[in-house]
Amino acid sequence: MATPNDDGCTLTGALSVTTEIARCVTLIHGPAGCAHHNFSLLHALHASRDFALPPPVLSTDMTEKEVIFGGEQMLEEAVFCAAEKKPDLICVLSTCVAAAIGDDVEAVCRIPSVVPVVHIPTAGFLGGGFLAGHIQALISLSRFAGQCERVPSVNLIGEKTLEYEVDEHYREVVRLLTLLGAPVNVRFVCGATLDGIRRLGGASLNILRDPSMRPVGDHLHRELGIPYIDSFPLGLGGTLRFLELVGRQLSLDPSAAVAAEEALQKEVIGTFAPLRRKRVTFPAGPAAESASRFGYELAETLDLEVREGGNPVPLPDPFPVGTSGIRRLLHRWRRKCHA
């Protein structure tokens, strides 16, 4: 079944990646409107994460004249102008119109420039939606990653930069990795730099945000030989398994980390003991389906009764990450149950 991530436009998905990279200019080759509505969306979402500056997005402002006579020369001039701003990287994103008239955007991006230029094909009419654009951008950018000395560390791959609580999810993963003694090498791409992307090959393990990022995990495995696990930790048992899995992959003994986390989970569950034997109802619909197994796990642990007519409790998708995510969720459940 299609999910909201499968809908939308590849251009927006790719922008959610490129606008995260420090000192990177994103140049959209197409009509100004394609840039404008994405810019507005990103600006609003970035503001909610306290980003001080608007996203550095430029448009070639293609008009009917370029549609008729071709837009390659205009793009070349726009890349030159973008390079004059001396960014670390220029990402050129194509649009429906540029692809429909056959502009060879890739060829223009290969013209030698003082700044690295990467083309990310994002003509929405070719299909794929937001998620395909997100994946395509990560794969295109990974060309800058080279082999380098490997240390026991992890890369975080494919964080959903526009999702609610993205920073909370990150902090929870870092907390868990710290229990294991495993540092984060590179976030690809939240807050990444071009130098960071070049150092991707230094990690021993990639942790994907969720299984939808498997194409990126597979690509990096092929190119850099880095194995991956396909999700951030979700649910009580899932968080403990995450620690075991990462520990095994990095040849670190996870037992102390698992014991510490189990103790924390007992404490959290104890805090929410007043919820015991409450009746709750999970939201219906496909969005909540994937989160429901974690919901049932929580309900069983807390001895809640899930049935129709109970207190309606939220079951967010994506499900909150790790034990800290569960704590935040249980606060919301407690309010709904008036416990």
Partner: protein, 272 residues
Amino acid sequence: MKQIALYGKGGIGKSTTSANLSAALSEQGLDVLQIGCDPKRDSTRMLMKGRLIPTVMDLVRERGDDRSLTLDDVVYRGYHGVRCVEAGGPEPGVGCAGRGIIATFQILERLGALRADVVVYDVLGDVVCGGFAMPMREGYAEEVYLVTSGELMSLYAANNICKAISRLSSRARSRCRLGGVICNAKNLPREEELVAEFAGRIGSSMIQFIPRDQVVQSAELNKKTVVEFAPASGQAAVYRELAWKIMENSRLDVPVPLEIEELEALAYGYSE
């Protein structure tokens, strides 16, 4: 006002036929406007003594926008007062020529250029995209004439154009119809019979047979239409006959395109 469009395979003689037709129509005392709808821009050259006139798209490219264009910038008067326009388009291999045709029509509409007793649209070889179907859309040509020889690939292109006419004519308010088939002969055996049968099979008729004649090449080498270069020739008489028939023609059909196997069998039957 009568608006007609000539379509056919590239190199089949559409521009030669269109220019001679326009010349012959003008000799009847009619105000004729010929619009070349092909980036090659050579539709009206023989009417303009061999001159390649500035195209609408050239002017847009040079000036950056079309707001400053006037009628005098885009319309050129040629042989016997025939008014000539070339749409033009992008350099080969870049951009979208079809969109160029659409933009040209919008500019010509805005300038009020599409006024004449007869407007002749000479359109690029095949209806490769929606832009080249523009002359068939509502408000423009109501009669399409297919120019073809008896060669299979020429008939194949003509048959494809029938598909476009058939599709467009099914739209509400569409008045675009097939006026007939013009055989521009290549001196193939039984060519006239073959093209006449093709025309009948698609539900139309062959309106004119234009024999192959050296005078056409001579006229072009002298940068003139046959009607101007050799007005007393038999070939000029054929073009005048075509002009007369088109003005009198009241048979307008929705064509029924042939399946490829049927078309091949038809051509094969005349190949012995």
